[in-house]
Structure formats: structure tokens, C-alpha cells
């Protein structure tokens, strides 16, 4: 009898849990992908929901690769990625996938050297050398050369990188591949690579935590993360020879240079760009939208959202430490939206 009563309670609970959908319920659009833009995306989708209460856009950050895969598998309506899809991946898609840049971000080198409070300057050779284990001591000539007046110890450098596959690593390795031929042939660029050396931290939090705790360490984190957590990060020399500290202005400058040569599908790398004030380790992040969306209501929702994001949404970027997309690129994207059917 008791068992029967308990089963009845259970059935009631189950019934409550599956309360039938009433008419006029909000429409749910699912998206998945990059973790880097998650804060700004969550802000955008929330603002958009306020303007259109019957549309719920649910975005989850499972990683750029996850976003691409789920989009290809058809389990989400749109994806997001810090690195553009490769030709091979595009070939696997049943429907053509369009890329829409949304915001700009950057990687910065963060370090922890006891006794050093100044901002260090890094040359491309220094960064590549450190990560390739060519440079092992803190006071190596390549590091001390641009940092006259800073006393660097003779200790071993501890390298920290990301252990989880991430767009942040993609940007960093993409940059290193451009400035170091050896890196390109030996390691390559990707969200996960075979790092020649170093401890792997999980997430920006992991890398920052390891760097903070380990003396004589150097790692890379997203710009937003460094700003929000007051991490010390260094300047990097760009292709014009100037040492640039990453901030919103220098990141936008990195994109401005490419606006004119932007390919039609928006898949472009802006690391090590041309531009006197450009920060060399920056990147777009993209929304991945199928060219053909069968569900008419969802298509309208997504198209409207992208339009809104490009027009009104950009103003939310800077307070959250993301850089806006240059106007020329925005105009190009507006035209590209019409291709979605």
C-alpha cells in the first residue's frame, strides 16, 4: 500500500514536470559555441528578449569546436566560433554556413616574475622562442633587449598554456605561426596543439591561477579576463615595430586595416596585421548561421537578431571590454544577411 502511495506521488511529480505547453508560448532558439564571447552574447540575447518577449535565444558556451559540430549535426539552430570554419568543415555541412563577425577580442601575455612590477615588452621572436623552448631563462637576451632597466632573474621560465581546446589558443597559435616559421612547421595553429612545453591550465581561470601562483611564469589569457581580474600583461611589438599594449582602441585598429580586404565570407585572420597602432594578437569571433533555415519563424528571429546586433547591439560591447566591429565590416555584413533564406 505504501509502495502504491509512493508511486502515485511520483506520477504526480512527473506530471507536474511535464506541464503541457500552452498556446502562445515563447519560441526557443538554440545556439552553441565559443566561450570567449559568452558574456556579451548573454547580454545581447537578454536585451533582445526584453525587446521581443516571445523569442528566447538560448546560447551555451560549449566551445568553438562543439558549436561547429552541433551545427553540422543539426541539434542547434546557430553556432559561434572564435576560429573560422575550415574548408573541410564547410564541405561537411549539408547546408552552406555563413560567418558573421560579432565582436573583436585579443590575447595578452600575462606573467609573474618576482620583483618585476613594470610592464614588459615582448618581441615576436621572444614569444615564439619561449613557447618553443628555445628561450629558457628569464634573463635571456631576447627578453631583456627591449626591456632596458628591468632586472630579470636568471631562473627558468615556466610556460603556461590552455589545456582545454579554445579559441584563445587558436588566436595565440595563429599569431605564432605567422611570426615564426619553426612554430608553423613544428606545432601549427589550432584550438588544441601539441605544446612543446608547459603546464596546462583549464580555462582562462586555470591559466591565470597558475601564472599567479607560479614564480617566473608566463602564459596567455583573453584581454577581457586580464582587465576584469587586474592581471599584469605585457606589450607586444607589431609588424610596424611599435610596442602596443592591448586595449579596445588597438584591437579595433587591428581590424580596421583588414576591412578593405575582407573576403566575402568574412573568414579572415587579423593576427599580425598592418597598422601602426594595431595590436598584433587580435581576432574576430563569428556567429555561424545556415544559409537556408527551414523553420520560417526561427529564420525571421535569427535574421532580425543579427540585424539588431549589428546596429544596436554593438554599443553593449565596450562596457564589457569587447571591441566593436569597424563600420565598413558592419555594412558588408548587413548586405550578407540578405543571403539567408
Amino acid at each position: 500500500m505504501i509502495i502504491v502511495k509512493r508511486l502515485a506521488m511520483l506520477a504526480l511529480l512527473l506530471g507536474l514536470g511535464s506541464a503541457a505547453q500552452a498556446q502562445g508560448d515563447p519560441m526557443l532558439v538554440n545556439g552553441a559555441g565559443a566561450t570567449f564571447p559568452y558574456p556579451i552574447y548573454s547580454k545581447w540575447f537578454d536585451e533582445y528578449h526584453k525587446l521581443h518577449p516571445n523569442i528566447q535565444i538560448n546560447y551555451q558556451s560549449i566551445g568553438s569546436g562543439g558549436g561547429i559540430r552541433q551545427l553540422l549535426a543539426g541539434t542547434v539552430d546557430f553556432g559561434a566560433s572564435d576560429g573560422p570554419m575550415s574548408d573541410e568543415q564547410l564541405g561537411q555541412a549539408k547546408v552552406k554556413v555563413l560567418h558573421f563577425p560579432t565582436v573583436l577580442g585579443a590575447d595578452v601575455p600575462t606573467y609573474n616574475i618576482p620583483g618585476v612590477t613594470q610592464e614588459l615588452k615582448f618581441t615576436p621572436n621572444a614569444l615564439a622562442g619561449i613557447f618553443l623552448v628555445k628561450i629558457t631563462k628569464c634573463n635571456d637576451a631576447a627578453i631583456t633587449a627591449p626591456n632596458a632597466g628591468v632586472k630579470l632573474p636568471a631562473d627558468d621560465i615556466v610556460v603556461v598554456h590552455r589545456s582545454d581546446g579554445s579559441g584563445t589558443s587558436y588566436i595565440w597559435t595563429d599569431y605564432l605561426s605567422k611570426v615564426s616559421e619553426e612554430w608553423k612547421t613544428k606545432v601549427g595553429k589550432g584550438t588544441s596543439v601539441n605544446w612543446p612545453v608547459g603546464l596546462g591550465g583549464k580555462g582562462n581561470e586555470g591559466v591565470a591561477g597558475l601564472v599567479k601562483q607560479t614564480p617566473n611564469s608566463i602564459g596567455y589569457v583573453e584581454l577581457i579576463y586580464a582587465i576584469q581580474n587586474n592581471l599584469p600583461y605585457g606589450q607586444v611589438r607589431n609588424s610596424s615595430g611599435a610596442f602596443i599594449k592591448a586595449d579596445l582602441a588597438s584591437v579595433t585598429a587591428a581590424a580596421a586595416g583588414t576591412a578593405k580586404s575582407m573576403p566575402d565570407d568574412f573568414r579572415v585572420s587579423i593576427t599580425d596585421p598592418v597598422g601602426k597602432t594595431a595590436y598584433p594578437i587580435a581576432s574576430f569571433t563569428w556567429l555561424l548561421v545556415p544559409e537556408k533555415i527551414s523553420d520560417g519563424a526561427k529564420k525571421k528571429a535569427i535574421v532580425d537578431f543579427v540585424r539588431w546586433m549589428l546596429k544596436d547591439g554593438q554599443k553593449f560591447a565596450e562596457p564589457l571590454a569587447y571591441a566593436q566591429i569597424p563600420k565598413e565590416v558592419v555594412e558588408k555584413e548587413m548586405k550578407a544577411i540578405d543571403r539567408i533564406q
Partner: protein, 283 residues
């Protein structure tokens, strides 16, 4: 007083003292964790936390109401899948099992137990999410349920086997059939251990985030029914803890506290209900 006796008494004192130290260690770890959670997340625990949906970063307010409900739904579903299979499977092994089949079942259960949670998530993804082409609470429940089976099954079997044979034989001698013996004599005798096992299994899956990433996904909004993605406390903790914002960190710690509270409540409730049920039987 001979020396051998003194030695044995000394060993006695020291070893028993050591066991006390071990117990103290285990308990103090938990209090440390609780204290840490309260210290860092306490500020984020307010009425909003339990009633509002998540807000984007930088905005005040916002909570994890949908994650709390989502976790409850997932755990309910997981229990519905994991407990019957584990419990009745354990009953079979303890009471009916032949030698080779029982050995096989035990072995595979132990194997299942060692599968990383994310691999189980991949499995649930392949069999529930892909065929239906969307993430759902159901998929998450399936993944967690599968994880509950091994602990429940092995422990049920262990505790049923600990019931002395004399109880079996007494009941049978009084004329009870086998299943009556099991249902009314053996299982009540072992219920404490079995309940512990079930609650342990529940506690374990309550904190898992990896298998949910690909099954229940997550949801910034309320999740209706069983076929939509749903937020859950472990996934929220994971997402917020690795984000760059201090506000989100605090919410992550608070969510950890709430999760523990949820498990505690379930524990208490289950023990209460079970003990009343059992004593009603015995009267």
C-alpha cells in the same frame, strides 16, 4: 604486569586514537568546504537567487531558479532509471543469481562504474540527442541514471548478502515463498545499507556537470516539459566559475552551497520517509 599485555594495550590505544583522527580529518574537510562556500558565496544568496532567472553579467539581481528546478527534474529522472535497475539487479544477484551470469553482471557493473562521466554523456548524446535532433532533459536524465546504476547495484547486493542466512531460513521454515521472504524479511533487514547506497549514488550524480554538457545542454530560460534543454546547478557552476567576472564567481560558490543543501534535504527526507514506512511495517 607482563610486557606483552602492556604492548597490546598501547597498540590498542594508539590505533583507536588514529581512527579517531581519520574520522576527524574527513569531517573537517567537509566543514572546510562548506565554510569556503559560505564565505565566498554567501553574499550572493538572497531571495532573487532562488526565484529569478540568470541575468547577463554586470546587471544586479538574477538568480538560478531555473537551474535549481532543472537539477531537481534531472535527479528525479535519474532516480527513476537508476534505482529500479540497480536495486532489482542487486536483488537478483544476491538472491537468485547463478554463478556465471552473476559474475558477468558484477563485472560489467564495475566496468560501467569506471567509465568517465563525459563518456557516458557522449553515449547518451548518441542514443537520445542525435535521434531526436535536440538536447533535452530526458537525455540528461538518462546519462545521470546510467551513472547511478553501478553504485546502487553493487551496494544493494552487498548489503543483502550481509543479512544472516538464519533470517532467510527462519522465514522459509515458517512457509514463506522465496519472494515473500525477500520482500518482507531480507530487504527490510538490509534497508539501511541499501538506502545509504541509493543516497550516495544520488549525491554523486547531483554534482556532475560533464555528462550534462552534451545532453541537457543548458538554458537561460525556464525549461518546459522533458524534451527541452534545461539549466542545472553543476553546469551553471562550471560556466560561471571559469568566467572572468567576480559577480559570477560568487554566484558559482552560492550555487555550490545550494546544491549541497538540495542533496542534504533529499537525504533527510528520504531517511524520514523510509523510517516511517519501515516502522509502520514492523508494528
Amino acid at each position: 604486569m607482563n610486557y606483552r599485555l602492556m604492548w597490546r594495550k598501547a597498540v590498542n590505544g594508539v590505533m583507536l586514537g588514529l581512527t579517531g583522527v581519520c574520522a576527524l580529518l574527513a569531517v573537517s574537510v567537509l566543514f572546510f568546504i562548506l565554510g569556503y562556500l559560505v564565505w565566498h558565496g554567501g553574499k550572493a544568496l538572497n531571495w532573487d537567487f532562488f526565484t529569478k532567472l540568470p541575468k547577463p553579467v554586470g546587471e544586479e539581481g538574477g538568480g538560478m531558479a531555473n537551474a535549481i528546478v532543472g537539477s531537481a527534474k534531472l535527479l528525479l529522472l535519474a532516480s527513476l532509471i537508476g534505482v529500479p535497475i540497480g536495486f532489482f539487479g542487486g536483488v537478483y544477484l544476491a538472491e537468485f543469481g547463478g554463478r556465471t551470469f552473476a559474475f558477468l553482471v558484477r563485472y560489467t557493473t564495475d566496468l560501467l562504474n569506471g567509465v568517465p562521466s563525459i563518456v557516458i554523456g557522449i553515449f547518451a548524446y548518441s542514443i537520445v540527442v542525435l535521434p531526436f535532433k535536440h538536447f533535452s532533459t530526458l537525455a540528461g536524465g538518462v546519462a545521470l541514471g546510467i551513472m547511478m546504476i553501478p553504485i546502487t547495484l553493487r551496494s544493494t547486493e552487498n548489503f543483502l548478502l550481509l543479512v544472516p542466512r538464519s533470517l532467510h531460513e527462519a522465514a522459509m521454515a515458517l512457509g514463506a515463498s522465496k519472494w515473500k521472504t525477500i520482500a518482507t524479511v531480507v530487504i527490510p533487514a538490509a534497508y539501511r545499507g541499501v538506502l545509504t547506497a541509493i543516497l550516495l549514488a544520488l549525491a554523486r550524480v547531483a554534482g556532475e556537470s560533464a555528462p550534462l554538457l552534451f545532453t541537457a545542454f543548458s538554458n537561460r530560460f525556464w525549461s518546459r516539459g522533458w524534451d527541452q534543454p534545461t539549466a542545472s546547478l553543476p553546469v551553471m557552476i562550471f560556466t560561471y566559475a571559469i568566467a572572468p567576472y567576480e559577480d559570477w564567481h560568487r554566484q558559482a560558490w552560492a550555487a555550490g552551497l545550494v546544491l549541497l543543501g538540495l542533496v542534504l534535504l533529499t537525504n533527510l527526507a528520504a531517511r524520514l520517509v523510509m523510517s516511517r514506512g519501515m516502522s509502520a511495517r514492523r508494528s
